[in-house]
Symmetry: C2
DNA sequence: TAGATTGTTAATCGATTAACAATC
DNA sequence: TAGATTGTTAATCGATTAACAATC
């Protein structure tokens, strides 16, 4: 069966649904209508129903959606029931922050190895995981069935490391380096460009202040 | 003059243009056509011209765009010529990583104060900036002309802190806590939801693998 | 002047919203 | 059965792409 491609706009909203449904579940709420969820999340009920129907009918007419069931279904869609082995490359501040972030482990994202090009860091540990030298990267990825690499390195070395990762069969890169990576199509890349995000905030802040000035 | 609202889709692309233009500038390239930039950035030339024309004509027929000029103009649009005073709330791993990130300072985002609710951290320093107790937050924000708060605290306390910030006149929040904040409309919020980002990667990774299996 | 390339209008595409018949 | 609410089709809206006249 040829499945129709789901737009990235929809995918991008799923984690937010997942979060709200998790909260509802924790509150012991059993069912919710698209209308109520719409009020809660400040999106249209129509969009909620459309989004869910991309993946088949999760609701029931006259009843709404079962919170726990919907939560589980979204988790399956996002692939969270599945374990992933990660390597973290770049044990600087941000890398260490991510390595210490326990919530990823809970969702099945397991950091198996940490690498850094700085000899002073090699041999040290972050949350019990030793920091390794970059030389061993390829072998480690292959031997430990690693599918995701987290890139928290400067932009200058990011492209080179990405190529090495592509060469040893990595499947996805979570990229915090401030460049766009040039990797083969079959490798999934998700960028987190922090300074881009801050610039957006800067724009909106300035725009709002300007508008205010004009009114005065 | 009533300025027409620029869509967030366009704003979201500006930092990427800015980055590419900065690189071109560093390479000493003087001018570029929308066509060449299009090839480089893998977007359509049409989109590039439309985007820039939202802010007035930056180019010249038959010539293209002057790299340095365009770079400066985008920097102005994004408000990067302007200094902003920030407080960082939450001196955990992520907070410290951000505090240590020098590039923000370069762009005029100056971290003036760091706050944490953990008494064990209070009094310590991050890059020369002392960590303060939460009690002093409001006074500090007012006295130091702070306009942006960076929230790197757990979701449980995020809403409460956001309300305190709203109460003392903060203008924008860069939110790393994994909740949607309920603040008045005039406060700009930019969310960085890391786990949402990882879930998106997870979805795309799984989808690709599934498609591959089907073909085999 | 001729060629290049923008600025801008028009066409297309996709995503969001509205409406309502189906059905629990 | 009557009421509620989904699933889904149709309408609208906005964003992207194409086309080309304006102009450097």
């Amino acid at each position: 069966m040829e499945e129709k491609e789901i737009s990235q706009a929809v995918i991008g909203r799923l984690p937010r649904y997942y979060r709200y449904l998790g909260d509802l579940k924790d509150q012991g709420i059993e069912r919710i209508s698209s209308q109520d969820l719409s009020t809660l999340m400040k999106v249209t009920a129509s969009q909620i129903r459309q989004d869910f129907n991309n993946f088949g009918g999760f609701g029931q007419q006259g009843y709404g959606y079962n919170v726990e069931y919907l939560y589980e279904e979204i988790s399956k869609i996002l692939g969270l029931y599945q374990k992933h082995n990660l390597v973290l490359i770049g044990a600087g501040n941000l890398g260490q922050a991510l390595a210490n972030y326990v919530n990823f482990e809970k969702r099945g994202f397991l950091i198996r190895g940490i690498f850094d090009s700085n000899p002073a860091l090699v041999g040290k540990e972050v949350r019990g995981i030793p920091i390794r030298a970059m030389e061993g990267l390829e072998a480690f990825v292959k031997e430990n069935d690693i599918d995701i690499a987290v890139l928290t390195i400067p932009k200058t070395s990011a492209e080179e490391v990405a190529e090495r990762l592509a060469g040893c069969g990595i499947k996805a890169i979570w990229n915090f380096a401030h460049v766009d990576l040039n990797v083969p199509e079959h490798i999934q890349v998700e960028n987190v460009h922090l300074s881009d995000s801050l610039m957006k905030l800067s724009y909106n802040l300035n725009r709002y202040n300007k508008e205010k000035e004009q009114k005065e």
